[in-house]
Amino acid sequence: MIGRKRRSAAQVEVPRRAFDLLCLSTAFVLAVNATHLPWWLTAALAVVLGSRWWQRRHYPGRVPQAIKLPLLTLLTLAIVAYYGNLFGRAPGTALGIGLLVLKLLETDTPRDVRVGMSFACFTLMTALLFDQSMVRTLVVALGLVPALATLRALQPAQAPTGMARGFVPALALLAAALPLALLAFVLVPRLSSPLWGAPGRDQARTGLSDRMSPGAFTELLTDDRPAMRVTFEGEPPPPDQRYFRAFVMGHYDGVSWSYADVANAPAVALEVEQASAYRIHLLPTHRRVLPTLDVPIEAPEGAAMRRDRVVIAARPVDDALSYSLRSATRYRLEPELAARHQRWLRLPAGFNPRTLALGQSWHQQHGGDDAAIARAALALFHDGGFRYTLAPAPLGRDAMDDFLFGTREGYCEHYASAFTVLMRAAGIPARVVTGYQGGYWNKLGNYLLVRNSDAHAWSEVWLAGRGWVRVDPTAAVRPERVSLGATAAAGDQLDWYRRDWLQQFRNRWDIVNRWWDQGVVAFDALRQRGLLTPFGIRDTDTGTLGLLLAIGSSLFVAIGLAWALRRRQPRDPLREALRALEHKLARRRIVRHAGEGPQHYLRRAARAMPTRRRQLTELMQQYLELRYASDEPAPESVHAFRRAVRDFRTTNVVK
């Protein structure tokens, strides 16, 4: 039917513009993937890309095999050496991008350019496997523009345009494709379970760890990416009551506190005086713990409540997770301490002798008044010359001794740890709790934004009759940390870019990220099934989705076809001028009949308006001349006719 003829494709040269654009697309791919590639690989690939571009521009010709093969070997070896593997998400992506750059070395025909461009689109997508934020997605989508422009540049015989102008049609094509893309995005049936194993997650974990040693939080405290977003049913708790518990750590080995996860133990008793219902949208942490406001009353679906009312999910949170909970904000937790309460008093032997001595001296001083001992410790932090800083001096083997009697500077981890050790030394059951505190209340979206930098550690002490009571020693040193949040507490130790106004902007801007995270990133099979709930269909199955997709696509195809088939009628200024004249005469009730020729009509008009007879006759002559004397009337004459029509007045001029 088509009579395909194989023209020797190898003979066709790649236009220079197409090659430049392909290089640009590849550079774009490299740039968006740079965040997760090792820097030396990015740099090396950029050098290869740049030199190939320079070589082709100045010394056109092929790259010898003697260069290509060693580079390929080197790339493979480097990736195996760095990742220890060629497969998996991170090494696979690195290999793909490396191959894309090396493909440029043997791009000599249009076919090579097409293959390279397709591969560039694929590697653009891999950048999204590591980060799905809105800005990243937009930037990656912009990467399609040079890729599509590359394909355009391969077409022969084009009207010459500048390189930048060449992007406009590609951008327009993407913009035109956006509605259909969105429709497909909403309606393409999601998989409720993956077809094959999810990729191996990278080892670098963010979020709270189940171990805490003073000084380990620093990385987290300077990471101001969102950790979670919380919406409350009813009023949000006041800023100094926004404590989100994650881990309860009871075991101290002299260096760090740790959480021991014991399954199958019933949760300790909880007497609720006041409760709050809320919903948390947790961003991926790759850990199983689910932070909760204060003390949770029950565990959400898919998670279990541990003994100390720590909520542990069945699977690591690898994708954003939303869960609704009710928590006690005024409560008595474990009013009767269990028999095995010794574990809340245990301290490692041979560590921190001065701290232990101080605690014991308080015990003797205050006797059994545990609350007084806690107050004494807080008074020590408040008046003992302690300083809050995110960059404290390092501590030695007896870390708490060094901190309490030496450096006297640190942040929440130091204070919580030292306070708990002091309490235990004084014979009061105590433990460290980690989680988040504070957050930014977004008025526009009515939600609380909690960033990783809001990570916090505090203590809980068990007081007879009151159960476990939260004590935040950091508040004794730096009340702003609790009332105003981590940023205010950090004071002037922050970089210039985290100054107030920028922070304010970022906090407000977060509502867009939230919308993106909840509306786009978290749009899964479950949400898709509930898509038609407003229309009374509870469960939208795959068949319905497919049908909707087909209908919607046909609709867009119809719109597209209407655009493609539309043909613009050539403008006829002469006819328009005559219409204008008819309009003017119609106001004097001289209406042109259907099928009445211009000559007949204008004669009739001239008879009806004796005062304008001469003018109308002239106009008629002019029109007939222009219309029938020649194929293509002179533009000046047409213009003159239009002017004459414009100046024609139907009303009598006062003499």
Binding site: L148, Q155, A181, A184, L191, L195, D319
Partner: protein, 317 residues
């Protein structure tokens, strides 16, 4: 395989004339419209859709909605490019085809004039195995020249032309067949060598004493020009003297080429010899006349006269 396909194609043309209506010759101008533009994905388009499928399955499997959005965007852009490809041909009009001159065995130049209401890029015109790419300006007519190989003299109908494009991304190929109802005249191939015409005698080469009374033009005065040639009236309106320029007398041999003189030759050989004589006469810039059965062309010179004579020769039965 290829032969089988071609046989099938021919069978389809014979059996299904309604489907293959576009293949029949039709009068010019031919305007392309939706019922005669065909679109299929190109090889690259098929490969690209495979890539899209891989991206789609990958994005769905990893539950990565951002990647899915990117895939959908790319897919929708690819689909939209099909409409652009269609629109690149829709409404295009082949106004007329002008044929050049060529003798049998040489390629004849065909100048196709296209009219387009808007800018169109990367349109290609296939004739046989050759393909010519061109861009169309918005308003003016665009002339595209292609070369049609010829074999024998006489009227040769134009073959089917294929107008196609893979604009803008090369993912789809839109095409339409053009079969103008028009024939081109191929001139006879002159014989390689032979005797000169018998009529080329001295009496035919009489001097045309063209004293040149006709005024051709005026030019600037040069030293030595006769005084009576000065154009006084025009000179009065200029600063310099002007001189009347007269056509120069020249000697023009007169050739009488006659079909009847070549009685002993075959039909085609006669034509070939006459063609050679015409060529020679034209090369020597002499005046010649041609007598053919049913056609007597008077004496004349110049390319138009030559073309008239050759056309007459080519048109012989």
């Amino acid at each position: 395989m290829r032969g089988l396909l071609q046989r099938l194609q021919r069978l389809a043309e014979e059996r299904l004339p309604a489907l293959t209506r576009y293949r029949r010759p039709e009068p010019l101008p031919i305007t392309l419209h939706r019922r005669r533009i065909y679109i299929v994905p190109s090889g690259f388009g098929l490969g690209f859709s495979l890539l899209l499928l891989v991206m789609l399955v990958g994005a769905l499997n990893y539950g990565n909605n951002a990647a899915l959005l990117l895939t959908c965007l790319l897919g929708a852009a690819a689909a939209a490019s099909m409409l652009v490809a269609f629109r690149n041909l829709d409404g295009l009009r082949l106004e007329h085809v002008q044929a050049g001159h060529a003798v049998a065995g040489e390629a004849i130049e065909l100048v196709c004039t296209f009219h387009s209401g808007r800018l169109r890029d990367a349109v290609r015109l296939d004739l046989g195995d050759t393909s010519t790419a061109f861009a169309l300006a918005g308003t003016d007519a665009t002339r595209v020249s292609v070369h049609l190989p010829t074999r024998r003299r006489g009227w040769q109908p134009l073959p089917r032309l294929r107008l196609w494009t893979s604009w803008p991304l090369g993912l789809f190929r839109a095409w339409s067949w053009l079969h103008p109802e028009q024939s081109v005249l191929v001139w006879p191939r002159p014989e390689a060598s032979g005797p000169p015409p018998r009529a080329m005698t001295e009496d035919a080469r009489h001097m045309q004493l063209h004293r040149g009374e006709e005024l051709a033009a005026v030019r600037d005065y040069r030293a030595g020009d006769p005084q009576r040639h000065i154009a006084w009236k025009p000179s009065a309106r200029h600063d310099d003297l002007l001189v009347k320029d007269f056509e120069q007398p020249r000697s023009q041999p007169q050739w009488r080429l006659d079909w009847r003189q070549l009685g002993g030759l075959e039909h085609e050989a006669r034509i070939a010899r006459l063609a050679r004589w015409l060529n020679e006469a034209q090369a020597q810039r002499c005046s010649y006349s041609l007598w053919l059965p049913g056609n007597d062309i008077g004496s004349g010179t110049g390319p138009r006269h030559y073309a008239r004579c050759m056309d007459a020769l080519a048109g012989l039965p």
